[in-house]
């Protein structure tokens, strides 16, 4: 097993009366990809920010944060020097062009002009932005801006890359390109920490997933483990309004988990045949039988109701 590079124990954070993070603990191994899943307001971003000192943790908790052996409360500079951060919002400097943004950023790491320039050329090539060297930030599409922010985060060849919703709002092409790049970085030994709402993203990238809700960890494990252990194998989705009463043999329902929203009924079971039989019994329904995915795990873990923070 590769060594632990991030260790978080019992960390809490309150903003006024809102408990953003509550007694959270986790460990991340070197060279792995660790993902936080959770609805908006679950505390994912706050947790990431506490790792690099952008947020302070609550002092009264007996908690511990250790990133590469450094505590962000005292040694944020060392952590920041070893890490790259891709924040949720693209906070590029709109007053500077692409090269200007990266040159200014290289100064923060005290890179000299020549090595900064060659690093920038490499990074723009890596993120497929070489032809945008002198473009203004406003001329870039959302996907390009996102890639540029990632390139910026890679400036100092970080050992740890922290990404807050790296692909939210991007088209599939850009998303897949970013996934490919993150996989490449992981192969090169970069530890990756990310938050996402997208189950497929977690599935595509993460070795370990932690599902958060209301500041607390509700489930954790590798994506396949979560699928295997935490949710039934198959789902029967019925759309339109149906009543379960129309099912003649009520006993088949005993072994299925029912999840109902206004327009959709989802029946979960490990037994596909049972679900098929059920589908046959329901009159005039549009149904869709599929394998359960991480989204089902997610909804099971965090509940279907919107909470006040979303």
């Amino acid at each position: 097993m590769s060594p632990t590079v991030i260790k978080v124990e019992n960390i809490s954070k309150c903003f006024g009366k809102v408990r953003a993070v509550h007694e959270l603990s986790f460990e991340v191994h070197a060279g792995s990809c660790f993902g936080f899943l959770g609805p908006n307001g679950a505390g994912k971003t706050t947790m990431l920010k506490m790792l690099y000192g952008k947020c302070t943790r609550d002092k009264n908790s007996d908690g511990l944060i250790d990133v590469f052996g450094y505590d962000p409360a005292r040694e944020e500079l060392a952590i920041k020097y070893l890490s790259g951060v891709v924040p949720q919002e693209n906070n590029l400097d709109e007053e500077l062009n692409v090269i200007g943004n990266l040159m200014v950023y290289s100064r923060f790491y005290a890179l000299d002009r020549v090595s900064a320039r060659s690093r920038i050329d490499y990074l723009l090539g890596f993120m497929d932005l070489s032809d945008k060297l002198t473009a203004k930030i406003k001329e870039l599409s959302g996907g390009m801006q996102r890639r540029l922010v990632i390139a910026r985060a890679l400036m100092n060849n970080p050992q740890l890359l922290i990404l807050d919703e790296p692909t939210t709002g991007l088209d599939p092409q850009v998303r897949h390109l970013i996934w490919d790049k993150l996989r490449q970085l992981k192969k090169q030994g970069t530890t990756i920490l990310l938050t996402t709402h997208y189950m497929e993203e977690a599935f595509a990238l993460c070795d370990m997933v932690l599902i958060m809700n209301k500041g607390q960890a509700v489930m954790r494990g590798s994506p396949s483990e979560l699928l295997e252990r935490k949710v039934e194998k198959y789902v029967l989705e019925l759309t339109g309004s149906h009543s379960l009463e129309s099912i003649a043999d009520g006993s088949v329902l005993n072994a299925v988990r029912v999840d109902r929203t206004q327009e959709t009924l989802r029946l979960y079971s490990d037994d596909a045949d049972r679900l098929k039989r059920l589908a046959g019994q329901i009159q005039g329904a549009h149904y869709y039988l599929r394998q359960a995915n991480l989204e089902d795990v997610f909804l099971k873990a965090t509940g279907r109701q919107l909470n006040e923070r979303q």
Partner: protein, 263 residues
């Protein structure tokens, strides 16, 4: 778990320089529109007020002709205005709208580095704006070189002073329109009652102590001393005031504004 090698993040001076460098880069990107007005403004001022109004003011002020009196004052008011704008509207926009600081704080910089870098940059702008005024005053023969060459240094000190005050104000401000109160209520009165347009000694006796509290009064005194080459001993008090102001107000500005950056 700890890395065996020590972590070589950049030293303090390099971090402050990198913040300064960012501001300098942004400023010089539009060198024409940013760099020309500091030269034009004193020109307009001297033409409009100095030549027009000055004709009617024949009395000498503190031993200077009116245009000399006003001109030397402009050396520091320009620094006051630029530093005040930079660290109110400028800082607020970077903080709240552009999120520039969030990007910078992901790099190896602390919030303190960022704010102090901001102050140093505002001081630099004060130096440059003061220098621009000096060029115009020299061209018109209002001040004499080389002794006036020290005037931009007073501009630097003035810029530092007003940036700390502006940042302190910014730390309280939640919507950008509140800055109007600061400019109308504090900066503008300072322009008129700190001995720039008329000597403080002409103020009624009971207001004079108030003028002594205003930071600009001390900048004006210092810059006139530099331009005339006359250094009365009590000038030491003005220097002391300025240095103390920068450190004390700067301390509170950093402490308060930090809470807007890291929370």
């Amino acid at each position: 778990m700890k890395d065996s090698k020590p972590c070589l993040y950049p030293p303090l001076a390099s971090r402050l320089y990198s913040v300064w460098f960012r501001h300098m880069r942004v400023y010089t990107r539009h060198i024409f529109s940013n760099g020309l007005p500091p030269f034009l403004e004193p020109l307009l001022f001297l033409a409009g007020i100095g030549l027009g109004l000055g004709k009617y003011i024949t009395q000498s002020m503190e031993g200077l002709t009116y245009i000399e009196f006003l001109g030397t004052g402009l050396l520091v008011t320009t620094a006051m205005f630029t530093a005040s704008f930079e660290c109110t509207f400028g800082t607020f926009i970077r903080l709240e709208f552009e999120k520039v600081y969030d990007g910078m704080l992901a790099a190896p910089l602390t919030a303190n580095n960022l704010i102090i870098g901001e102050i140093i940059w505002a001081g630099t702008k004060g130096l440059f704006f003061s220098f621009a005024v000096l060029c115009i005053l020299t061209v018109f023969g209002i001040v004499s070189l080389p002794r006036s060459l020290l005037a931009p240094c007073v501009g630097l000190l003035t810029g530092l002073m007003f940036s700390t005050l502006a940042l302190l104000i910014t730390s309280f401000v939640r919507t950008i329109n509140h800055f109007n109160f600061y400019f109308t209520g504090i900066i503008s009165p300072m322009f008129f009652f700190s001995g720039v347009v008329f000597p403080v000694s002409n103020l009624p006796g009971f207001i004079r102590p108030v003028a002594e509290i205003l930071p600009l009064t001390h900048s004006v005194r210092l810059v006139r001393a530099v331009c005339t080459g006359l250094y009365p001993p009590r000038l030491l008090l003005d220097v002391l005031y300025i240095v103390a102001f920068i450190f004390i107000v700067g301390f509170f500005a950093v402490r308060r504004l930090k809470k807007r950056l890291v929370f």
